[in-house]
Each structure stands twice: as structure tokens, then as C-alpha cells.
Amino acid sequence: MISILRTIWKVFLHLFRKRVTIRYPEERPSLAPRWRGRIVLSRDPDGGERCVACYLCAVACPVDCISLQAAEDEAGRRYPSFFRINFSRCIFCGFCEEACPTYAIQLTPDFEMCEYMHRNLVHEKEDLLISGPGKYPEYSFYRVAGLAISGKDKGEAENESAPVDVKDLMP
């Protein structure tokens, strides 16, 4: 009996506490950048598509909702020819972002993704690709990778020396 009364008293006291819920959507919350919401594909500082279609996000995804196909342009740069996320399956765990070696795939603080049609939650590359670098403004994978692409020849990546001259006999 006493414990019931105590509980009622405690609940009553809550009437005078500060409110934590807000009147969404009239009021909008401010979410931290690391909040895990809508997934985007970003671009590197030069504006190129960041995703190199390595399939790591797809394999990391615990619900298997990412599917893509790797392709390569004439200059040797890899990209996904299609990239699909089925948001109706996504649990916003962020594993894909953690797995991504290029910072291409990023979760953003946007959670307003409701749809009337189940199938509209299937997003293709066109829906995912944003125009900027997202949370990581500096990083460009190809500046550190050894692959030659247009505008970056062998030996021109960070911390690389010029290509070896195989005919050189110097010790």
C-alpha cells in the first residue's frame, strides 16, 4: 500500500519537471552530427564519387540491405555502377559507415524518411549521392592509394616515391 502511494506521489511530482519531449514537427530537435539517420554517399574534396565499390559496407551490413556492382572507368577509377539500399530493412546500426574505407557512406542526422509505399524506401545511387564530402571534408582515398587514376599517376600519391626504373643498375 505504501509503495503504491509512493509511486503515485512520484508520478505526481513529474508534473512539475521540465519537459524533455518537444512538439515535433512544429519544433525541431537538434541532433548531433554522429546521429545515425538517413544514409548518404558522399563525394571527395575534388567532387569525384567517393565510393570505390569495395563491397565492404555490403558485407558488414547485418541485415544485408546494401547491394551494388563495381565498375571501373577508363582512367582506372572504381565506382559503383549501381548502389541500392533497402531502407525498409536498414536498422541504422552504422556498421556500413564504420566499414567504409573511403568515408563514402555516411549516416546523417536526418530521420524523416517516412513513405506511404514500402517500395519507395528502396533508394538507388541517384537518391543517395550528395554533392559534398559530408562529415569528412578532407579525405580522398585515391590520394593515399597506389592505384593510378586520371590526374594522379603512379608515384604521385601521398608518401610515394617516383616509379622505379627497372633498367637502373645502381646499387
Binding site: V59, D64, N86
Partner: protein, 912 residues
């Protein structure tokens, strides 16, 4: 057997092993790079270090390379000693100083031995702050990709390519940390085995360029065990599929067959499965002259009801590239007496001869492993590198067996590769090649003969005579007699002599001569073996099923007529003259063709039914060794495509045959065949049947980490489709199922915790490089006859006589081009030769032509103009023509042909 102590626990290991081999076989994980079970040890990478102790009292020990240390009795080592662990970690760290930051864009990623070993040693943080050395890549042709930055200088590539496969155009250049593995200049890798670099190289330097076109990680590939369909050797392969297309093929280990390697035709020839030439829907010709129109499966079957009525005279033409099951179902549908093998008359008589010899004579058929172990080899009439490529790799190893005795005498262990090769000093054992033109194996031969097929046969008969005086005598030139004598001596002195011949030069006499030589050797008490090369993946199987080829079919129809012919997976225009085939088809009211690619024959169909290529069908194939092997579906056929035997079972139902109702899965067909023909009794055991389960579970075709199943088809339908059910095998089309090691016939991929690369294979073998756990797949169907030598062949062809006005045109084989299916793959078509006429030096003078000049070639009913190509080794009076090129048209070679120089009048010439 020797006892060694690993971290103070005794283990028994086989004699003559090195520590690395022994420890890996015992299931220990020791990282390694330069050692390879087939290439042995050189001690180059320093990765496989262990600590060795003198005795129980020794506590300090010393670090040794396990791959270079014999696992001798009483050896005491530690794998987990902290010093040695630190040593191994620093070796990797040091290799990694120059390694690029490439894994995400590297095709090796996810199945990279370097990644595996790095994780295994525990090197996880880059401390090195200086610059990385870089390299420029080379263009190595359309098959193999080169990304030299990733090299860790293990030397495996050159050791495989040069030492093992005999290639010359890949080598190591430059010095110290600049060493470069590549060609002297950009260009197509010339070895027929270049694709093995993809598996041999532990990093992403050499990767599969055809995979790159539709790149998929290993963890996403849906894979199944398959059997290569591009020649008669029956190499075991693993094929991988993703998003409905075949993505790549890798080697599947079978110690008795292909071991660790396959040829480039088998690895890169799969493109025909994805090609635009596939037939995807049933097509029906509404009126005799009309166009073919697509119909549904149901409509096609309804249409067939009007054709396969009771009492219709139907004949069936089978195919050497179709499975036993498909051939047998066709035979059942039309009746044994109306079933024909659909191979040319010449092929039929050759395969009949081979079947007789292998089942009657005392010499057993040799497996590829037997070939590799032979210590004296006689090759008659085959350009093996091009007609049965994988065999040439085995024979290159066989040539080292005799000289190995030197190394053994010097007490050099077989695995000490550098020491062995130094001891051998490039010497090779007895190896005799008789062929119509120069072959790549000539370079390792101790005696070479280039002659006409008849003379090759005479040479073979003469070898037999030299071995056994009771064999009939042959008169040869002094030179040939001496060579025959030398060959006979070598074969007589060998322990495991091998005679290789085949259907390649189109001569029955050559096949008989080979048998004669082997039998003569058997008569002297030798364990001689015979290896007959057959052209297609099921030529021998079909040869065991029926003895009637296309010639018999033509004759039967000319005599008795027919209403309908069913041609299954066969392009008859590759088997007989165009006019003859056309006339044959005209003899029928209806031509039903079942095939998976468009060929000249499908153009003559009134009903064309889409069948499945190897990747979408299950079936049993009999290799040239007489080994029945099962190949499994990698993916489900799309739409209305179905296996030939399923179409035929539907037809059987229409025709009112009981099989139409009772053959529900492929096991029923296999059982019926095994029951009906005793020679096929063994095929039921070629692999576990459809009802087989491991702990109640199916075996998953997809790896447990396969990704994307909730998204792959979400663009079409957000609800995931139920995976198809395979009613023919124990495999599932999903990632669910038994996780452990499947039985050897059902190994669908190599993976083991910590071992993501193909080197996980170590875990699937009883002993590394030994048989697979549970035995090597396949059932041998042919048992040799009684030990005594059968009556010798006494009909010896007369020696070849050059003719004034005509040339004997012989077939010249090309690994890329001569085989039917691989040429439908765009990459293979791109590296296949254009038709030409090969002429020897002397004859070029006689004809007054130079390389590139045009000559007109006339055969009965055939006249074409081809450019001349100088072909080394062709004897006088003999010309060659590339075999099987679709653009050359069928010509039953060898045949006498008129060849005249053709002066092409060019536009400019006339103006001048």
C-alpha cells in the same frame, strides 16, 4: 614416418617432408608466402620461421625457416615461441612498408593470402613513415591484370611461370627493392597457363581481368563444383555466379586430375554462358519458310504434341559436349536404335578404337597424375599444349622424374627446389614427341619427329617392334629407326612408361600404334600406361554409349526416312560437310534443336528449345581417363531455359513414355542409365545424390557472409523472393546450410577460419598436396583387360608419299580457337587466330609464296582463300589448317587438298 615435437608435443609425420609442409598437414597455422605445395621451397620470404631446439635441454633454440628444414626424426620446434612470433610479425611489417593502401580497390581483397597472413601474424599498425616505392604496370593481354605495386617479392610467379610451366616471357627484372615481375615489354602472356598466376600470386599483382569486368568479391560469389567443358581431360573447377551471370572460374583441386592448376581456356572460356549468343526462349517456325517466333514453354510443348505423335519416326542426335544424362534421356526417348552420337564418321571410328583398346588391352588409361609421375614419355601425333593443355603441364613435370634420381642420389630432398634444379642442371628425362608440326613440348623432348600421320603411326609401330620382337616389323628411314630405337630403350628402362596419342591427327593407325607400343611394354612386365586425348568433355562417355555417329544417321535416313530429328547440344556443321548436313535436315519434316548457344545448326531448327550451359545444369561427364565426374549447377536457369534432359523428359511425357512421369530429378536418369548399361554402373557413386544431407542440412552455395540479399532484387519487388530449390542435388541456393567441410565431390569453395584465399585448400586435404579428405572425386569406368598382350595390330599403313599437285592438309590446334564453346566468349574470340594455311619452309619455296600471301585451298566441295603462315616443322608435302575455327568452315582433316598461289588484284594495282 618420423616423430617430431612441436611445442613439446610429439607428432608423427611422413618421411621426407619439410617442417612447414608437415605442420600445415597437422593443421597448424604457420604463415608463409614463397612456399607452394606444387612449387616447393626456396626460402625466399622468411615468413615461415619457427624456433628449432637441439634437444629437450636446449631452451634458447634458433630461428629457422620451416620450409627449408627437414621434418627429421626427433626434430624439436616451437611455433608459438614469443621470439619467433615477433620475428614473423616484423617480416610482414617490413613487407608492408612498400605495400600500397589498395585493399578496397584490389581484386584480391577478401581472398588475399597477404591479408590472411598479416592478420595471422598480428601486424596491425603502420609505423613506417617514409616513402613507398612504386612501379608502373604492364598490359599483359585481356586475361591477366597487372598491378605491380602490390608485389611482396616472393618469386612464386616466375617460379610457376618459368620453372613449372616452361613459360619464357615473364621474368624478374632489376635489383634489390626495385625488383620487378613482368614482361620485357607490354603484351599478351604467351603461356597457356598464365591464368594460374591469379591463384599462385599471394597478393593482388596478378588478378583475373575477366572477373574485373563484372567484379564480385569472393564472399558474394555463389559457387558450385563444376567440370571444365573445354576439352576431354575433365579438369575440376569451381565456378562463381552473382546477379545471374557467371563471374569467374578457378581451379578445384583433384589430386588425380588437375591438382593445383588449370589452363587458360578452362579458366577464361566461361564467357559463352553470359554471351549474347545464348538462346533464351523457345522458338517455333510457324511455316516452313517463315521466321522463328518466340513462344512460352507451354506453347512449345503443345506444339511438340503435334510432332511427337504416336508412331512418328523420330531420330535423336546426341552430343559429346552434353552430359551423360542428357544423351541418355534422348536415347531413351527415341529408342536405342534411333539414337546417334552426332560426331563425324572419323571421330566415331577413332573413339571406337580408343574404347576398344582401353577396355581390351592390358595398359590402363593414365590419369593426369599418372602422366605427371611417368618417367619416360612417348607422344604420338598430338600437339598436346593446344589439344589437351593441362596435360602438357603434367608432362613437363614428368620430364623431370628421371633426372630427379640424380638429386635423390645427392640426398637433396625433393622439396628443396633451388637445390634440385641446380642438381638437375636443366637435364630432362626421356621424352619423345612425334607430331605433324612443331609443338611447344618439342623444347623439352629428347627426340622429335615431324612427319605425316601415317609415318607417325609407323614410327609408333616400330617402337613397339623394338620393345617386343613379336610385334610386326616396319621399314623406316635410318634416322627414324634410330629414334624409334632410342625411344624403345628409354621406355623399356623406365618404371612408369607412358604413351600418349589421341584423336588429334585423325588417324586410327596412330591410336593403334600407341596401343601397340604400350602393350609391347606391358608384355615385358612394365606398368605402361596409355593416355588418349579426346576432343570434348564427354566424347569418351558418348563413345561408351553408342557406336553410331552422324554417318550412320545419314545412312539410316537415306534408307528409311524419318519424320523428325532431335539434335541436342550439337552443331552438326562442325561434324560434316555443309551440303551433307543441309540435305540431311531436308530429309525431315521437323527439325528440333535443343541447345544453349546459337550455331549454324540452330538456324535450321523448326523448333528451337533453350537448354542450359554447364553453369545452369547438373550432369556427369566422362573424361579421357574414363573418369565419370559430376558437375553441379552454379545458378538456376533463367526463364524458360531448362536442361536438355528436362526438355526431353517433357517430350517423353508427350510421346506417352513412362519416363515422362517417373524421371523427376536427375538421380532417376542416372539410376536408369546405370541399370541399363553396365559400363555406367559406377556413375551413381560419382557424387552424393540429391537426398544427401550433412547433419540434416543442405550444403550452401553461398558463403555465410554473402551480402545484399535484402536489396538485390528490391528494385523489382521489395519482398525478397524465396530462393529456388534444387531438386537435383544436395546444394541450396542460399547461405543457409551446413557450415563445415562438405564431402570432396561437393566442395564448392575453399574457406577456413583465418584462411580466406584459395590456400584454405590445405585444410581440405588429408595431407597438404595429398588426396582430399574423403578421397579424390570421380569414378573410373574403364578397367583394363587381362594382363596378357592381345594380338598385335598387323595392318600398318604405307609410308607417306608426297604428291605433285596436292598437299595433305592436317589440322593444327589452337588452345584459343579450336574449341567450340570457348570461342563464344568475347575475350577468347579476341585472341583466337584468323584462319590461315600453315606451310613449311620448303613448301613455301615450292609454291612460291611468302608469309601473308594468299593461297586458294580446294577440297571436294570446298574452296576458300587463306593467307599463308609459315609453320615450323611441317614436313614437305603437308600443309596445315587451324582446326575448329568457326570462320574456316568444316573440313574433315586430314585430307588431300589442292593449294595454289592466288594473286589478289588490288584496286591500286589495276590503276597503276
Amino acid at each position: 614416418m618420423a616423430t617430431i615435437f612441436i611445442d613439446n608435443i610429439p607428432y608423427t609425420v611422413k618421411d621426407g617432408r619439410n617442417l612447414l609442409h608437415a605442420c600445415l598437414s597437422l593443421g597448424f597455422d604457420i604463415p608463409y608466402f614463397c612456399w607452394h605445395p606444387a612449387l616447393h621451397s626456396v626460402g625466399a620470404c622468411r615468413q615461415c620461421a619457427v624456433k628449432q631446439f637441439r634437444d629437450e635441454k636446449d631452451t634458447r633454440g634458433k630461428i629457422v625457416m620451416s620450409c627449408m628444414t627437414p621434418a627429421a626424426e626427433g626434430t624439436r620446434i616451437s611455433i608459438n615461441d614469443p621470439d619467433v612470433k615477433r620475428f614473423r610479425r616484423s617480416v610482414i611489417e617490413w613487407l608492408m612498408t612498400n605495400h600500397p593502401h589498395d585493399c578496397p580497390v584490389c581484386d584480391e581483397g577478401g581472398e588475399c593470402h597477404l591479408q590472411d597472413m598479416t592478420v595471422m601474424t598480428g601486424h596491425d599498425y603502420r609505423r613506417f613513415r617514409f616513402r613507398k616505392r612504386t612501379h608502373r604496370n604492364q598490359y599483359l593481354g585481356p586475361l591477366v591484370n597487372h598491378e605491380m605495386n602490390r608485389c611482396i617479392q616472393c618469386y612464386r610467379c616466375v617460379r610457376f611461370y618459368r620453372d613449372y610451366a616452361g613459360g619464357r616471357d615473364l621474368d624478374v627484372f632489376a635489383s634489390h627493392n626495385r625488383v620487378y615481375f613482368g614482361r620485357h615489354a607490354d603484351g599478351l602472356l604467351q603461356s597457356e597457363f598464365s591464368g594460374n598466376l591469379v591463384e599462385v600470386c599471394p597478393t593482388g599483382v596478378f588478378t583475373d581481368k575477366t572477373l574485373k569486368e563484372h567484379y564480385t568479391r569472393k564472399w558474394d560469389l555463389q559457387t558450385a563444383p563444376t567440370v571444365c567443358v573445354h576439352c576431354g581431360l575433365g579438369c575440376n573447377t569451381i565456378s562463381g555466379e552473382r546477379y545471374g551471370s557467371v563471374r569467374r572460374i578457378i581451379n578445384r583441386y583433384n589430386r588425380d586430375v588437375n591438382g593445383y592448376f588449370i589452363c587458360d581456356r578452362g579458366r577464361f572460356g566461361y564467357g559463352f554462358v553470359n554471351s549474347g549468343e545464348r538462346i533464351r526462349t523457345p522458338l517455333i517456325r510457324r511455316s516452313k519458310s517463315g521466321e522463328m517466333g518466340p513462344v512460352s514453354r507451354e506453347d512449345a510443348l503443345k506444339h511438340l504434341e503435334g510432332i511427337l505423335y504416336f508412331g512418328a519416326r523420330v531420330i535423336g542426335i546426341g552430343s559429346p559436349r552434353a552430359s551423360l544424362e542428357s544423351n541418355f534421356s534422348l536415347m531413351t526417348l527415341v529408342g536405342q536404335e534411333h539414337f546417334y552420337a552426332g560426331i563425324s564418321e572419323q571421330e566415331q571410328s577413332l573413339i571406337d578404337r580408343i574404347v576398344d583398346i582401353l577396355s581390351r588391352g592390358p595398359a590402363p588409361a593414365a590419369s593426369l597424375k599418372d602422366a605427371e609421375e611417368a618417367d619416360a614419355v612417348l607422344v604420338l601425333g598430338e600437339d598436346i599444349t593446344n589439344s589437351a593443355p593441362r596435360l602438357s603441364l603434367s608432362l613437363r613435370q614428368a620430364a623431370l622424374n628421371k633426372p630427379m634420381e640424380t638429386a635423390r642420389k645427392m640426398r637433396i630432398p625433393e622439396w628443396n627446389d633451388t637445390a634440385v634444379r641446380t642438381a638437375l642442371q636443366g637435364r630432362r628425362g626421356p621424352f619423345f614427341v612425334a607430331a605433324t608440326a612443331a609443338t611447344k613440348l618439342d623444347e623439352i623432348a629428347s627426340g622429335v619427329l615431324h612427319a605425316a600421320p601415317d609415318d607417325i603411326a609407323r614410327f609408333g609401330f616400330s617402337v613397339a617392334r623394338e620393345v617386343d620382337g613379336n610385334a610386326p616389323d616396319v621399314l623406316l628411314s635410318a634416322e627414324m629407326t634410330a629414334l624409334a630405337g632410342a625411344a624403345a630403350d628409354a621406355l623399356k628402362n623406365a618404371e612408369r612408361p607412358l604413351v600418349v596419342a589421341g584423336m588429334g591427327c585423325g588417324s586410327e593407325a596412330v591410336i593403334q600404334a600407341a596401343a601397340q607400343a604400350a602393350w609391347a611394354l606391358c608384355g615385358t612386365g612394365k606398368k605402361a600406361r596409355l593416355l588418349f586425348i579426346v576432343p570434348e568433355c564427354n566424347t569418351l562417355g558418348l563413345g561408351l554409349m553408342t557406336r553410331r555417329g552422324i554417318g550412320a544417321a545419314v545412312k539410316a535416313v537415306a534408307e528409311g526416312g524419318g519424320d523428325t530429328v532431335i539434335v541436342m547440344e550439337n552443331d552438326l556443321f562442325r561434324r560434316a560437310d555443309e551440303t551433307k548436313v543441309k540435305e540431311f535436315f531436308r530429309g525431315f519434316k521437323q527439325v528440333i534443336v535443343i541447345d544453349h548457344v546459337r550455331t549454324a545448326t540452330t538456324g535450321h531448327a523448326d523448333v528451337l528449345l533453350p537448354s542450359c550451359a554447364f553453369a545452369e545444369s547438373q550432369g556427369t561427364y566422362v573424361s579421357s581417363e574414363g573418369r565419370a565426374q559430376r558437375s553441379f549447377k552454379v545458378c538456376m536457369p533463367e526463364g524458360d531455359m531448362r536442361e536438355s534432359w528436362r526438355w526431353i523428359t517433357d517430350m517423353a511425357e508427350i510421346a506417352g513414355r513412362p519416363e515422362g512421369k517417373t524421371w523427376r530429378n536427375i538421380d532417376h536418369v542416372v539410376k536408369a542409365l546405370a541399370g541399363l548399361m553396365p559400363v555406367f554402373a559406377g556413375i551413381e557413386h560419382a557424387a552424393p545424390q540429391a537426398g544427401f544431407r550433412m547433419t540434416g542440412l543442405r550444403i550452401p552455395r553461398q558463403p555465410h557472409r554473402a551480402s545484399g540479399r535484402a536489396a538485390i532484387s528490391a528494385n523489382v519487388n521489395v519482398h525478397e523472393p524465396k530462393p529456388p530449390v534444387d531438386s537435383d542435388s544436395a546444394f541450396s541456393f542460399s547461405m543457409e546450410g551446413y557450415e563445415g567441410m562438405p564431402p570432396p565431390e561437393l566442395i564448392q569453395r575453399y574457406w577456413s577460419p583465418g584462411w580466406n584465399s584459395v590456400q584454405a585448400l590445405n585444410k581440405f586435404q588429408e595431407e597438404v598436396a595429398g588426396p582430399l579428405r574423403g578421397g579424390d572425386p570421380g569414378v573410373r569406368l574403364l578397367q583394363p583387360g587381362p594382363l596378357e598382350v592381345p594380338a598385335y595390330f598387323r595392318e600398318i599403313p604405307p609410308s607417306f608419299r608426297q604428291r605433285e599437285d596436292s598437299w595433305l592438309l592436317v589440322p593444327l590446334y589452337h588452345i584459343f580457337g579450336s574449341e567450340e564453346l570457348s570461342v563464344f566468349s568475347p575475350v577468347i574470340a579476341g585472341i583466337s587466330p584468323e584462319p590461315y594455311i600453315g606451310i613449311g619452309d620448303q613448301d613455301m619455296k615450292r609454291l612460291g609464296v611468302n608469309e601473308g600471301d594468299a593461297v586458294a585451298v580446294t577440297l571436294p566441295g570446298y574452296s576458300r582463300v587463306f593467307p599463308v603462315k609459315k609453320t615450323a616443322g611441317l614436313p614437305e608435302g603437308i600443309a596445315g589448317m587451324p582446326a575448329g575455327l568457326p570462320s574456316a568452315g568444316w573440313t574433315g582433316l586430314p585430307a588431300w587438298a589442292g593449294i595454289v598461289k592466288k594473286v589478289l588484284h588490288k584496286e591500286e594495282d589495276r590503276h597503276a
